[in-house]
């Protein structure tokens, strides 16, 4: 399934978490799901914390890329951008807060759900939850900022 990440310009598509051109990365995809945003991911066996549970750094990574993807979706919607080519806005993370409410089981698909809390110019604030087996295991907040279109262009 396509996500907002499939519409990033090529020079913004190498992210370890969500770059479609990073073949050693997680290849996360973020989409609207009603008024929320949604990313799903099944951790690999080596994404372990304590055996049986998901590594916190991976959970932080999921929230990070879910946040920047959600921010790009929000900016595209606000600007009425039709995503037909590599014309999506691209955001980076200014701050990332993660609260580990309970140990996240390693095995089931994780849902990362986002709510757009604020869009102000180039800045977007997203709240996120990571859900496993129907339970919220992790919550987080991402402050994302749009980068100039030519940043990092080769």
């Amino acid at each position: 399934m396509n996500g907002i990440q499939d519409y990033y310009p090529d020079h913004f598509a190498h992210c370890h978490g969500c770059g479609r051109l990073n073949h050693q990365g997680l290849q996360l995809k973020t989409n609207w799901n009603g008024n929320e945003t949604l990313t799903t991911f099944i951790p690999l066996p080596h994404h372990t914390a304590i055996p049986g549970f998901v590594y916190g750094g991976l959970l932080a990574s999921l929230i990070d890329c879910h946040g920047t993807g959600s921010a790009a979706l929000a900016l595209a919607r606000e600007r009425g951008i039709e995503l037909t080519q590599h014309n999506a806005p691209r955001c980076v993370t200014a701050s990332l807060h993660v609260n580990f409410k309970k140990a996240t089981p390693l095995g089931p698909e994780l849902q990362i759900r986002g709510t757009i809390k604020e869009v102000k110019g180039r800045k977007v604030v997203i709240e996120a939850e990571v859900i496993a087996n129907g339970e919220v295991c992790v919550t987080g907040e991402v402050v994302a900022v749009e980068v100039p279109e030519n940043f990092g262009a080769r």
Copy 2:
């Protein structure tokens, strides 16, 4: 070089970030450096955000494991534990806050430096900085909590 992670019990040594028994992980090692704690890591080429810069999720992971490692060092020091075998305390992360101050260059060795802010029972608070080429690129805070010794034992 040994780190506190080399003294975790085997069943706590599978973490993707810092488990000595996780051969697909980052194998981070955390040590005292005077009154600070120190972890060093050279990101791999695929740990990219925007080309030329380090992925935020990796930086969050470095702060996460540096935080739990620092917390274990602090608890071991407070209790006078001599680390001679797999007898180190083991902490997990309750919350993780990361502020991306400037883009972190991909290439040089990163230093993650920690300061123990509080030790209160099983809870330890650590402030961390990620330094590249002598500049602080990322700051963070970890609240870590000790897990029972038999948690996750097989």
